[in-house]
């Protein structure tokens, strides 16, 4: 190959490499974010924001950005089927310092299946979480729709974590309505259920957090809340 041509090929390869490197650096910037530290929960009302049904490829990253910018820890109850193909996103959730809980593998109504099937569901999602997050063991389980059979309440190996406040984002995916509802009902010790598959939720959370902070609220994951003396499980 002529020298000129060889030089151009090398230059082009370099330019392509630089482009790829630039893109990787941009992508890596998210992964290199420091984990959100726990807040001081000793002074002021405490509230836990929990997000069900993710990780969602489109909206979870936006939500993570909001939580990062406001330095707000949260809890994500993930669905096994949603993890498939979004392993990187799940890692980002964990690396950001948020807590991860189980929301079953296929978002099935646990009251409509047998105990054996339910345990398979929960083991499946737990296994995916462990595999993706190098052995991370999800502690809390949130049954889809908040419905669970009696045996789950009595099972010693399951820690059911429901909510005290339903944001209503699944029913009325409207940011104004979500914000109004949460701000008007929020009280010390609340566990708020939201869904990170919803653009209105992302917009609402971006408004809720500063508003609640102004009212003196501190934010916590479920585990942090429990350590501070609150009851988070059934």
């Amino acid at each position: 190959m002529r020298i000129n041509n060889r030089m151009f090929v090398c230059l082009t390869a370099l330019a392509v490499g630089i482009t790829a490197f630039g893109l990787l650096r941009g992508l890596d910037r998210r992964a290199r974010r420091a984990a959100i530290p726990a807040q001081d929960l000793s002074c002021g009302p405490v509230i836990a924001l929990t997000f069900d049904d993710g990780p969602n490829a489109r909206h979870t990253p936006q939500l993570l950005d909001v939580l990062y910018e406001t330095q707000t820890p949260a809890t994500f109850f993930v669905v096994g089927d949603q993890i498939d193909g979004q392993e990187r996103l799940l890692r980002e959730i964990a690396d950001s310092g948020h807590e991860i809980g189980s929301h079953t593998n296929t978002h099935v109504k646990l009251t409509q299946i047998t105990e054996g099937q339910a345990r398979v569901e929960m083991e499946a999602v737990a296994s995916k979480i462990r595999q993706t997050l190098d052995g991370y063991e999800p502690r809390f389980v949130r049954p889809p729709y908040g419905e669970y059979p009696q045996w789950m309440e009595e099972a010693p190996d399951l820690e059911l974590a429901l909510w005290t406040m339903d944001s209503g984002d699944w029913l009325h995916p409207n940011a104004d309505l979500i914000v109004e509802r949460v701000l008007s009902l929020a009280k010390d010790g609340d566990v708020v259920v939201l869904h990170d598959d919803n653009p209105a939720t992302v917009e609402a959370v971006a408004r809720i957090i500063p508003a609640l902070k102004e009212k003196g609220f501190r934010f916590a994951t479920l585990r942090q809340m429990e350590q501070a003396g609150y009851t988070v499980t059934r």
Binding site: M1, R2, N5, F8, V9, T12, A15, V16, G17, T19, A20, L23, L24, G26, L27, R30, A57, R58, P61, Q62, R88
Partner: protein, 420 residues
């Protein structure tokens, strides 16, 4: 013709609309991780625009699936064969012309362009063997450059039509008959022949080019030819109306002299068409370096053509096709700086620009190529196959093509002189 053209554009537009609709959520997601303008520029360049163009071409070629047969002619014609140091190849080329199944006389006008090897000796030997209806005339052109040689040959053409054949291109036995039938019946200014690769097994580079000629180039020429707008009547094997070429001023001394001539002929309102059944087996570059240099020249030629005759100066469907030609620059840049970085990102586990959809696109491409392959096979003219060649063509050829093309564009823009 107009109806089919509108239908093919319509199909392409429909494909585009569906592609945009399906990919919008994905683009919005990716645009969250990568710069939005970059994502849009890349997706347009590697998906939307190529999808529109390829699907329109595919649909049009489906509508023109039959091979037209024209009334048989036997009027005398001329083959202009330019040679510069072609002692190894020229005898085969001339022999192939001797063997043409064509009733009329074929005057073989060999223009020796300042050869320093034994080209003249070989030509003289062939002159001794020439049959009566295949006389050879030897012409010497001391001004180096293919355009000069061709123009010297043009000055000596005495027939209504003439054919150019490269010194390393062997014509299939019926090639002259088919191309003459075509040009005589249609009155086209020029007719491009169908080039197959003569040396497909010579190297990996040759194996890849086998499929470039067989599938890509043939499909594009067929598409353009269906609307009388084949943008390149390649010098390796094409037929021309003698007077039309003279009126157009012959060949310019540029890198892409055949491209520029075609553009000039189109500008006069003449048709430039394509005859798939007129096959020439051309020798392709056997090394990556030579292939790169060839494609660099072709890219320069494309810009020379566009500069010589701007798209808006063209007539009829040629206006559309030359405008589309301009977009190739964008496609090449998007491939190099969008798709290739996307592949690198995929190696690191980021499937934002190259991923499952890429595999799907490859599958669609294979379906498209299969239709072209079946068409070529139905011509009944033999060609060789190579599985490894096809795979490498699918995976790697575009990288060579786009790099060389961008080099060519920049060379032309910065007025660097190209080299053969």
């Amino acid at each position: 013709m107009k109806t089919k053209f509108i239908l093919s554009i319509g199909f392409g537009a429909l494909w585009l609309a569906v592609s945009v609709w399906l990919s919008l959520p994905w683009i919005q997601q990716v645009a969250y991780f990568l710069p939005a303008a970059y994502v849009w520029a890349v997706v347009i360049g590697i998906a939307f625009l190529p999808g529109f163009l390829m699907s329109g071409m595919f649909f049009s070629n489906l509508m023109h699936f039959g091979v037209k047969k024209y009334p048989t002619v036997c009027e005398d014609t001329t083959v202009v064969l330019c040679a510069h140091n072609e002692e190894k190849e020229i005898a085969h080329t001339i022999q192939a012309i001797f063997c043409q199944e064509y009733a009329g006389e074929i005057c073989i006008l060999v223009v020796d362009n300042a050869s320093t090897d034994g080209t003249k000796r070989v030509i003289q030997k062939m002159m001794e063997r020439a049959p009566a209806n295949r006389p050879i005339r030897y012409l010497y052109c001391d001004e180096k450059g293919k355009a000069h040689a061709l123009n010297a040959g043009l000055a000596q053409v005495r027939t209504r039509y003439f054919i150019t054949v490269d010194a390393d291109t062997c014509l299939e036995d019926h090639a002259v008959q088919r191309i003459m039938d075509h040009i005589a019946a249609t009155g086209s200014g020029c007719v491009a022949g169908n080039l197959f690769v003569q040396n497909p097994k010579a190297s990996l580079a040759a194996r890849m080019q086998n499929y470039d000629y067989l599938l890509s180039i043939a499909a594009v020429k067929r598409y353009q030819g269906s609307y009388n707008s084949t943008l390149v009547a390649q010098g390796a094997f094409s037929a021309y109306q003698t007077e039309a070429v003279r009126k157009a001023g012959g060949w310019r001394p540029v890198m892409g002299e055949d491209i520029v001539l075609t553009y000039n002929l189109l500008q006069t309102g003449l048709a430039s068409t394509y005859e798939p059944a007129a096959v020439g087996y051309t020798k392709v570059p056997e090394t990556l370096g030579d292939l790169y240099q060839q494609r660099l020249r072709w890219a320069m030629g494309m810009l020379e053509g566009l500069q010589e005759v701007h798209p808006w100066q063209q007539k009829g469907f040629a206006k559309y096709f030359t405008s589309v030609n301009m977009s190739i620059i964008y496609l090449d840049l998007a491939f190099l700086f969008g798709f290739l970085p996307g592949v690198i990102l995929a190696l690191f586990g980021y499937y934002y620009l190259a991923g499952l959809l890429t595999v799907l696109t490859l599958a669609i491409g294979i379906v498209f190529f299969l239709s072209v392959y079946i068409y070529q096979k139905r011509l009944g003219i033999p060609f060789k196959n190579s599985f490894i060649g096809f795979v490498c063509f699918l995976l790697f050829f575009q990288a060579v093509q786009s790099t060389a093309s961008v080099h060519g564009y920049l060379s032309h823009m910065f007025e660097r002189k190209g080299q053969w």
